[in-house]
């Protein structure tokens, strides 16, 4: 992942602090645990260890082992227990250490949590939050580097958030926990150390509201999660070439703020979608297809996709680095879209 370019926080907030994305997530969890006694956190090594990423450090000390629970290595089991608790008055946050382990909870998430409200004719609800990770380039190889957000985004009944900044992460996670529907929340494990401004005062960010991370006129770069930084860096470089790129972050894939994406596409007439999931049958396909559907007559060129290569993530750095979108690639695609290549 490339180093972040500064991303601003909406005016309305008074003071702000620079904190890491990990701290922002930690604050969101702490604040919700504080304000709502029905919130609990369940996961492997989430208590004393604070997770391998140290994201939940300090929570068990403040809220105790009844509300911050170290679980056995039973992803399906803890997700099922979180679901049952959510159906009976609790708002559990289940921690799935690596997004790759979603493979183990798809039944609980897709067949159970996603469908409970609908199948019961609206009588039962499942305010469950599943926190997990995505992202490669950590030299963790094929089973610890996947970005599987497309799977859950394909399941009606689930909401899906993938924040790119500490500000978005905190505001969206608080919204996720308070949401009455199940939410799958993705954090890029390479972004935990990324710092950014976060308001001193309390706030939440609504789902379904894309955020324009940078205004531009010539080309639209729709980017998710850490790919926002790749897009912003590409935009910087393009600026030097006199190309004005707009960077749009959907922030939630479900619900999707189609309006903002399409508006930007209509404005610039050229679109690149950047996502770290595999290219084929991935989230980038839906974003590209949706934009092409609604902005077709405004497009000067086909919507282009930049996504993870369609290969299992290799271990060797020289190979792994080939598999993810880079600022160079985005710049190159932008040039070709503008007929400058």
């Amino acid at each position: 992942m490339s180093t972040p370019t500064e991303v601003a926080v909406p005016k309305e907030h008074e003071g702000t602090r620079e904190i890491s994305l990990a701290q922002a997530v930690n604050e969101a969890l702490a604040e919700e645990l504080r304000r709502d006694p029905t919130v609990v956190l369940i996961g492997e090594d989430v208590a004393e260890a604070g997770t391998p990423f140290k994201v939940t450090s300090g929570l068990v000390e403040e809220f105790g082992p009844e509300r911050v629970l170290d679980s056995p290595i039973s992803e399906a089991g803890i997700t099922g227990i979180g679901l049952g608790a959510s159906m009976t008055g609790m708002r559990p946050v289940v921690d799935i250490m690596f997004g790759d382990f979603l493979t183990l909870v798809m039944d609980q998430v897709a067949n159970q949590a996603a469908k409970v409200h609908y199948m019961s004719g609206g009588r039962l609800k499942a305010p469950l939050t599943v926190r997990t990770t995505l992202g490669a380039t950590r030299r963790s190889a094929a089973q610890h580097s996947q970005s599987l957000h497309a799977w859950v985004s394909h399941v009606p009944g689930l909401k899906v958030a993938l924040p790119s900044t500490p500000y978005d992460a905190k505001g969206l996670l608080k919204t996720a926990i308070r949401d009455d529907s199940p939410v799958v929340f993705f954090e890029d494990k390479m972004m935990f150390a990324v710092k950014g401004p976060v308001p001193d005062d309390e706030y939440t960010i609504p789902f379904g509201a894309a955020d324009v991370k940078r205004d531009g006129e010539d080309v639209t770069i729709v980017a998710t999660s850490s790919m926002v930084y790749v897009a912003l860096e590409a935009a910087e470089r393009l600026a030097e070439e006199g190309v004005s790129a707009e960077v749009v972050d959907p922030r939630t894939l479900v619900p999707l703020d189609r309006k903002t994406l399409v508006a930007s596409a209509k404005k610039t007439g050229r679109v690149i979608v950047v996502d770290e999931g595999h290219r084929s049958y991935g989230a980038s396909a839906e974003l590209a297809a949706a934009i092409a559907e609604d902005a077709f007559y405004w497009l000067d060129a086909p919507v282009r996709r930049a996504a993870a290569m369609d290969v299992p993530v290799p271990f060797s750095p020289v190979l792994e680095d080939e598999t993810v979108p880079t600022p160079d690639l985005i710049v190159e695609i932008s040039r070709s879209l503008l007929g400058k290549a």
Binding site: A85, S120, S181
Partner: protein, 330 residues
């Protein structure tokens, strides 16, 4: 269903007759469902509970209304035993608006949250996590509610059951796992799919087990009562293995069963271990009621069921525009 759980000791006339009536209600309901299927009046399929009535009723009579249950693809009996009304159930089975799920769930997904039924489930063992989580919730919220998880012996093949039992034992959760062993996983005898001894499995995860005659409502009631008391006391989970039998096919369409089980076996269970006969005989023997009284109960229930089925057939379907409502809770 009982509002206050009655101590195991005194299974008096009232409880015995209520159990008899509930079992009769389930049987009549299911036979009606079979009729609806045969006369092509019900969409899809259904898995009938006939023969297993004593399990659902014996268990649910030992529960309070605010206790939870989770159910299975063979869930009509659990739903009725926990207090559901036959008319709204028929409406659900026929996909009508008045159904418990406004027609969106159907036979395999009936839920009745007012009576603590968190839903039938079409995934084998699919509700074991939900039930265990409901128990987690009861404990976390500081109530003394208990959650009962119904499943067939086929669910012993699903790993998630062991994952959640392990946590139920570790965290002393008030959950009672009720395994309805009717000997068949669909069309395969459980001995071909289940190694070792069933009772040893929960025990190995620190969950106390009791083996129960699933055809004797009183035995099921008593065993459940013990398990529920234990759970309410904060002593954690229990596991009941109830030996039972389904009289009909795996589902209403499974009529030629000779290739997987013999007519003799079926007849023997019906003749020697019918839960209604067993409880009925006990009731008469103890002078709690006379044959005639039991026959009257049967007639009344049948009338109730027939009327409900009629009502459901005349009831309106939901407005097609409801199709994309209730996907999200907000």
């Amino acid at each position: 269903m009982a509002t206050e759980a009655v101590p195991a000791a005194e299974i008096g006339a009232e409880l015995a007759l209520r159990m008899y009536e509930q079992m009769q209600r389930i049987r009549s309901f299911e036979e009606q469902v079979d009729q609806l299927y045969r006369s092509a009046k019900m969409p899809g399929l259904a898995h009938l509970y006939v023969g297993e009535e004593a399990v659902a009723v014996g268990v649910c009579e030992a529960l309070r209304r605010d206790d939870y249950i989770t159910s299975t693809h063979r869930g009509h009996g659990h739903c009725l035993a926990k207090g559901a009304s036959v008319d709204r159930m028929f409406c659900e089975l026929l996909g009508k608006e008045e159904g418990y799920c406004r027609g969106k769930g159907g036979s395999m997904h009936i839920a009745d949250h007012e009576n603590g039924n968190l839903g039938a489930n079409a995934i084998v063992a699919g509700s074991t996590g939900i039930a265990t989580g409901a128990a987690f919730s009861a404990k976390a919220r500081g109530t003394d509610q208990v959650a009962v998880c119904f499943f067939g012996e086929g669910a012993l093949g699903q790993g998630v059951l062991y994952e959640v039992m392990n946590m139920a034992a570790l965290w002393k959760l008030p959950v009672v796992y009720v395994c309805e062993n009717n000997s068949y996983n669909e069309y395969t005898h459980f001995s071909e799919t289940t190694a070792g001894d069933i009772a040893a499995r929960p025990a190995a995860f620190g969950v106390p087990v009791e083996e129960v005659d699933g055809q004797d409502a009183r035995a099921v009631y008593a065993a459940t009562h013990r398990a529920v008391e234990r759970a309410r006391r904060g002593d954690g989970p229990s596991f009941l293995v109830c030996e039972t039998y389904r009289y009909y096919g795996h589902h209403v369409g499974d009529v030629d069963r000779a290739y997987y089980r013999s007519k003799e076996e079926e007849e023997q269970w019906k003749a020697e271990r019918d839960p209604l006969q067993i409880l009925g005989a006990w009731i008469v023997e103890h002078g709690f009621a006379e044959e005639g009284e039991l026959e009257r109960i049967a007639r009344d229930v049948e009338a109730e069921v027939a009327a409900a089925a009629e009502h459901a057939q005349d009831a309106p379907f939901p407005d097609p525009r409801e199709v994309n409502e209730d996907v999200y809770a907000d």
